[in-house]
Symmetry: C2
Subunit: 407 residues, 2 copies
């Protein structure tokens, strides 16, 4: 008898997490000889535990599935539910009973580190109890911090958004080029600086802004930063600086924590602000120059305006490849991308042990950061450049992008 | 003898201010029988006073002029230089001597309220002294606050950016739809709420987010706001609220002033930051719910990813029309757009007295705001919808938008 398929999304969304959902669903629906019903979990494993799931086939018939491919956010809804470490916990038999109720034979989970942790635990529990359900992780995260894969779907589109937006901000900042100014751009990625590093791609020529890029992989010194800014302002009128939200001093204290120490509103409550805002005030106070800070915020993960064609293709292919692997009997694996060639850039899809991947973090290699700690090297540019290639035309309605949504 | 042309840009840039520059320059260069050299002022009237200008013709030959059309920022550089009220001031003969040195017969200034003030003063001084130099203002501002014109080039692209970005943020915010949350989006426009109102276009269906929209045209009550949020959260999990940066209480005190000290720029405007951040902290503290605030910041005026085709076309046409009007002898005028038909939408170009326009401010009509002060009516939607139509393909290089820049 044919077994059913279930797919879920977990953690923070990316611009192409729904493209991977499309890949899984499209591939599974096209193998009706092998699979029964294709279910989607609403709000990931947490929603599934509460019996929230949906049949995906009607979406294909209505054309909604095609639209999902270029819709940001998590179409199925997400969760941040961590399964217990102890596989003896009562939640496991409960979950597997539900899998059995729905005749699930194949489980796909699209997400980052924490989601891979879920796949690892479920596959280990299956192995322990002799269940033949196959568990496959499909990678996604704008942070690009998953190990054993060249990169992670979601990162290239976020990198393209960051690079193009920083290029636009640089253009905007140069408008009053007869007055000195500093613009600080705060970019996502608390522990891994991949996305902040992508701002280097914004440069139109050697020596162009952003002049300084600070990653969380190195220690940040406020005094050294002020000296660098002061020196650069002697030769550059409008300075643009990109910082990771997670920059920290040599003791590991986040720069935004310094802000929380000093920022008190007139009710005496702490004003919680970011690293960028803190540094804006610091530069204003210490250097007396015009400063602005810009937090790129959630647009980095949800903008559909700068989708990378390469990313979209790879996100769909990762989901589809996962279905093939599960059918061939693999379980406890994450789909990984291996760079097969540089010029032209190509990738191969493969699988890696999900238990090795979860709870690990891949940061930017130290030798891809310049010695002064305020830029990235050519090696990073060579790595990132192919990922942001290719344009995607998002369907439009009434002048705006048309998105799919659960009714 | 043929007189020369000079064109400048002033004030904050928009996504299409360079399209108007293109319109002026392209039209003037194509009338070689009427015009001599076409100059660009570097950093507006302030730079011109310091002898900073450039010949625009080489840009046409190199293809750079075509690229300028879709480049954000002010290609020529901008300034915030206010001419003295007193036309007896020594700066006026100095300026007109410089006009004479460069054999200027036609002066075009692309900008908003303050730039129209410059055009007004120069044309009045010309009239007073019998100068035959013609002064024409070409409108631009994302704020859409110029009177005597249906709308202002720059607003439609900014509105399209705001609407599409808010739609993306709404999608992102709905990802954890099993948990309650509030997302506050802060939008530019200190006295005029046009751009904040444009967030209403983001709704995909009746009752969709953003659920509340607060403009600076009405008074904002923190307590009423908290009550509205609390009530809405009973039926909507993930609430998205759009606010203007300039919302204020019934005494005219800006919401951001409750948290921040405010500086004053050299036109006497209050420098605003942080209404969203302030309300984020307020909601968190008072309602104990998950809150995020997002400041759309300068991307509203410099993103090239959401250019309105309608806007781009009108921005170019406004510049070109200005050249025709100057040639026909007009001076002391601003180019204005008159809506000629609704369905299909068309505009006519005309001129209005720049002295009537400068230092005035067009705000959103009160009857386009709902009685409870937290939404806009269908009349606004009908007004704004045609403006955001049409897509623009921006030239790309290496996966990113390709921009022109002064070397």
């Amino acid at each position: 008898m044919k077994k059913n398929v279930i797919v879920g999304q977990s953690g923070g969304p990316t611009a192409v997490i729904n493209a991977s959902l499309y890949g899984v669903v499209y591939e599974a629906l096209n193998r009706e000889d092998s699979f029964g019903t294709v279910y989607g979990m609403i709000n990931g494993i947490e929603g599934f535990l509460n019996g929230k799931l949906m049949d995906m086939k009607p979406l294909d018939k209505s054309g909604e599935l095609e639209l999902i491919k270029t819709t940001p956010g998590s179409y199925l809804g997400s969760c941040r539910y961590k399964l217990p470490e102890n596989l003896e916990d009562a939640v496991y038999p409960l979950l597997f009973q539900k899998f059995s109720d729905y005749k699930i034979g194949y489980f796909f989970y699209i997400g980052g580190n924490d989601s891979m942790d879920t796949v690892s635990k479920l596959s280990r529990y299956a192995q322990k109890t002799g269940s033949d359900i196959r568990f496959i992780g499909v990678p996604k995260t704008i942070d690009n911090d998953l190990i054993l894969t060249d990169h992670t779907p979601g990162f290239p589109s976020a990198a393209k958004y960051v690079a193009s937006t920083v290029r636009e901000i640089v253009t905007d900042a140069s408008v009053y080029d007869n007055k000195k100014s500093v613009t600080i751009v705060e970019i996502m990625g608390r522990h891994a600086g991949w996305l902040t590093a992508a701002s280097a791609l914004a440069r139109k020529y050697k020596g162009d802004n952003p002049l300084f890029i600070y990653l969380p992989e190195t220690n940040f010194s406020q005094e050294a930063f002020l000296k660098q800014i002061e020196k650069a302002l002697r030769t550059t009128s409008n300075l643009v600086v990109c910082i990771s939200e997670g920059i920290h001093d040599e003791h590991g204290k986040f720069v935004c924590e310094f802000a929380n120490d000093v920022g008190v509103d007139n009710f005496g409550h702490k004003m919680l602000t970011g690293s960028g805002k803190y540094l804006e005030n610091l530069v204003k106070e210490r250097l007396g120059v015009k400063v602005r800070s810009i937090e790129l915020n959630v647009c980095q993960r949800c903008s559909s305006s700068m989708l990378s064609g390469t990313d979209l293709k790879e996100a769909v292919a990762s989901g589809a490849y996962g279905v093939k692997c599960a059918l061939e009997g693999e379980s406890g694996k994450m789909i990984a991308l291996k760079r097969a060639a540089e010029d032209p850039y190509t990738v191969d899809y493969t699988t890696e042990d999900v238990t090795l991947i979860c709870n690990q973090e891949k940061t930017v290699p130290t030798d891809w950061i310049t010695k002064d700690g305020c830029d990235v090297t050519e090696a990073f540019i060579r790595y990132a450049q192919p990922l942001i290639q290719g344009e995607v035309s998002v369907p439009k309605e009434n002048g705006l992008p048309r998105f799919a949504y659960r009714r």
